[in-house]
């Protein structure tokens, strides 16, 4: 185990503050909510949490690569940059239901069942809470944290179990031909394929 990865993100207008430690939201704070702006508040908070989760995921990945990643290989990095571009361009698309299940999204609720959060990757795609659940900012933040952490934990658990099922098979795969793939990625970028 390395040092815990701690990400803190804050905005001023509106005031949102979150601290995420190793994938778990430990602190969430915001101001009192004007009931008339309830829907807008939830939308802004979901976008803020998505940005924070994405930043935290990047920091954790960078830490993992620094500790366990392969030695620098420009061709491999060129391929991975291309893959990252493609994934980013498809981040908002919704795939049709597949015959094989793939862990792309998970949900959580607070114990009272009022707050509902759904997480896809690092995006908070659903954040629902009735106005009465947001009356007290401290309790509301606690309920949102609980629901969000449950959704993230379930998604991580689903990905782990899929990885375990595929683990044996993937270990037998040969090392990709990064040089050839880098050439292909460049050709895709230039529109030749």
């Amino acid at each position: 185990m390395g040092t815990p990865i701690r990400t803190t993100v804050e905005t001023e207008h509106p005031f949102f503050h979150v601290q995420i430690v190793d994938g778990v939201v430990e602190v969430l704070q915001f101001d009192r909510i004007d009931e008339r702006g309830h829907a807008e508040f939830l939308e802004r908070l979901a976008a803020f949490l998505s940005r924070a989760l994405a930043q935290h995921a990047e920091e954790r990945l960078a830490d993992l690569l620094a500790r366990f990643g392969p030695a620098p290989d420009p061709q491999r990095e060129a391929v991975m940059a291309f893959v990252a571009e493609r994934l980013a361009s498809a981040a908002r698309s919704r795939p049709r239901p597949q015959r094989r299940w793939f862990p792309d999204q998970a949900d959580g609720r607070d114990p009272a069942g009022d707050v509902h959060v759904s997480v896809a990757g690092t995006d908070v795609v659903v954040l629902e809470a009735p106005p009465h659940a947001l009356e007290h900012p401290g309790r509301a933040a606690q309920a949102i944290m609980t629901a969000l952490n449950l959704a993230s934990e379930r998604l991580a658990g689903d990905i782990d179990s899929l990885a375990q099922r595929r683990g044996d098979r993937d270990q037998q795969l040969p090392e990709p031909d990064w040089a050839r793939m880098a050439v292909l990625a460049q050709r895709y970028r230039q529109g030749y394929v």
């Binding site: 239901p97 597949q98 015959r99 094989r100 299940w101 999204q105 998970a106 949900d107 609720r109 069942g113 509902h116 759904s118 379930r154």
Partner: protein
């Protein structure tokens, strides 16, 4: 869950007329939906999610396969239970009604005999029907007769129940 008008109309027409033709039209309409898959790839995952109290995910998963999963008693029962757990009482009732209707459509389609088998769209619908009738299947065999395929369930009460996958 949005159910296309063509599916609702075919269901209403069948409930009004209850003829072999109206049943064929209803089942044909569901089968022609792009999301229809007789093997129900959602079923195993939905069962796991339900057992794990992941009700929002049950709803999203099954709805992703609608209207192809429409009139699957299991689909509607799972949706009803999941909606109840998230305290969406109206939708829970609607899905319970749809589950009852789905079972009624199957049970009224025959008598479960070789001469008048029950007509189903999916194998899981056979097991839902047997559960509904409170009979326990002990063994299942496939019978092909005159180009038609039948699933025959030998049940613990000593009676064979016949289904035809349409």
């Amino acid at each position: 869950m949005h159910v296309p008008a063509r599916v609702n109309e075919a269901l209403r027409a069948h409930l009004d007329r209850d003829t072999p033709e109206s049943l064929a039209l209803l089942q044909g309409t569901i089968r022609s939906e792009p999301t229809f898959d007789a093997s129900c790839p959602w079923h195993e995952r939905a069962t796991f999610l339900l057992q794990s109290d992941r009700h929002d995910e049950v709803i999203r998963l099954i709805n992703a396969y609608m209207p192809g999963a429409f009139l699957s008693p299991d689909a509607h029962l799972m949706l009803s239970h999941a909606h109840e757990q998230i305290r969406d009482v109206d939708r829970s009732r609607l899905e319970a009604y749809r589950a009852t209707t789905a079972l009624r459509v199957v049970v009224d389609s025959g008598s479960g005999t070789r001469e008048r088998p029950w007509q189903v769209l999916r194998v899981i619908d056979e097991y839902a029907t047997l559960r509904h009738l409170r009979v326990v299947p002990a063994a299942q065999r496939l019978v092909i007769d005159g180009g038609r395929e039948f699933d025959v369930h030998a049940c613990e009460d000593g009676v064979e129940r016949w289904f035809e996958l349409v």
